[in-house]
Symmetry: C2
Subunit: 134 residues, 2 copies
Amino acid sequence: MEALGRQILVEFYDCEQSRINDLTYVENSLIQATKDANATIISHNFHKFSPYGVSGVVVIAESHVAIHTWPEYNYAAVDIFTCGDTIEPWTIQENLKELFNSKSVSSMEMKRGLFKVPKGQKLLFKPSQEFQSN
Amino acid sequence: MEALGRQILVEFYDCEQSRINDLTYVENSLIQATKDANATIISHNFHKFSPYGVSGVVVIAESHVAIHTWPEYNYAAVDIFTCGDTIEPWTIQENLKELFNSKSVSSMEMKRGLFKVPKGQKLLFKPSQEFQSN
C-alpha cells in the first residue's frame, strides 16, 4: 500500500500561556515553521477568541497546518498534513515546540489515502500550482 | 481523563470525480454540512489546483473542517475537529458521504487534549465568541 499523504497530530502540553494566547505570535509561528519546512504557503487565516484561545490554518500547496490553542490549559493542538517528498513535517513540530516553549509533546503520525500500487511504482503526486481561489 | 476536543479523520474513497474536482461544489458541500451540524462558521477558504484537486478549510467556533481532494484517485481526505457538546461531528461525515457520492468510507475518531480532572468534574469549554481576526 502507498499513501497519498501523511498527517501528524501533535499535542503541545505545558506551553507558555502568554505565547499561545497571542494571535500575532501564534500566526507568525505557524508561518515561520511552515516556511522553514520548505512548504509553499497559499493562504493563512487566524482568529482570536474571547476570553482565551487562538484558532488558525495555514493552507499550503502540500496540504495544511492547523492549530487550536487552549491557553487556560497551556495546551495547543496542531495538525500537520502534508503530501509529496519536498516537505518534512517533523521539522514543523520541532520548530513549534520551541516557539511555544512546550515542555511535554505527544505526537502521532497517520497515513492518509492508502492505495494498492504495482510493485516498484509510486502514487503520482499532482503538480501543486494553484489556478483558482474562492 | 477528559478530552478538550475530538477529531474524526475520514477517508472518502470512490467519490464522484467531477464533484470533488469542482471548487464551488466542494466549498458549498463543506459549508452546508458544517451548518447542518449546528457549527458556527467563522471563515472559509478554498483553492483549486492544476490540473486536479481542491483544498480548503472551514474554521468554525468549535474548531475546523478541512478537505484535500485527489480527483484522479476519486479520493478525498477530510478532518473534522470539534470541541464542546453542541455540534455532532458524525453528521458532517454522513452529509459529505452523500454529497461526494462516496462508495467507500473509512473513519477514525481521536481524542485531543487529554487532561486528568477530579471525578465528577468536566473540562471547562471556553466561550466561543470571536473578538479579533487576522
